[in-house]
Amino acid sequence: MRLVLIGLTAGFFSALFGVGGGIVIVPLLIMLLALGPRVATGTSLAAIGVIALAGTVAYAIRGEVDFGYAALVGLPAAAGAVLGTSLQQRISQRTLAFAFAALLVAVGVALLV
């Protein structure tokens, strides 16, 4: 029952915003299934794999997916993520967190104007 709630929320959120939905899945796994943060993050990533694939298919059927652009952004990002994960061990997250939050706010404002 709880899994149904998590799945439906995650799928809706992911498709509506074009994001993986980790931001809703991780807290739900922690709150509703009592998973630890590490396992919640790992399980969320695996679930997002299925969700993003299904979302891609749903949008591709409607002709909305540009696969060339997806590869152009997505492949360098995969390489970058490996780098980012290894940097995590060396740089304090706290130092950069506020800069990242500020960047997101700036991008949000740019989308609004």
């Binding site: 980790g22 591709a60 696969f67």
Partner: protein, 121 residues
């Protein structure tokens, strides 16, 4: 020029995604809108495909650390398909403007969450 910008922004988005443990989607969508000129809906759809390589690599590395409960992940993913159908229809029904504004609100919420988490730690 746009292509170079997209590759660099993709790389940058990936580094941030790996570093902060967020998916790249939140950064892919604006990259696709601003650097490559896609509409909001097309950018969101394309972002989902762009997420796949990063998520596959991330899930594999988490699996090796023993952090993935595959049964739970598969169930959540499969049930999510119903939610995805609804989400796609809502996104299609909304105007590009409304969708873009909702996405901006999402960015503000995630920014708040990250700042809050950093303050607590």
């Amino acid at each position: 020029m746009e292509i170079l910008a997209a590759v660099l922004l993709g790389l940058f988005a990936g580094v941030l995604a790996g570093f902060f443990g967020v998916g790249g989607g939140i950064l892919f969508v604006p990259t696709l809108v601003f650097a490559l000129g896609l509409g909001q809906l097309e950018a969101e759809a394309t972002s989902l495909a762009a997420i796949l390589p990063t998520v596959a690599a991330g899930a594999w590395s988490q699996h090796r650390h023993g952090n993935v409960r595959w049964r739970t992940a598969a169930l959540v993913g499969l049930i999510a398909i119903a939610g995805i159908e609804v989400g796609v229809r809502v996104a299609e029904a909304l105007s590009e403007d409304v969708l873009r504004r909702l996405f901006a609100v999402l960015l503000f919420l995630v920014a708040g969450q990250i700042a809050l988490r950093a303050r607590r730690s």
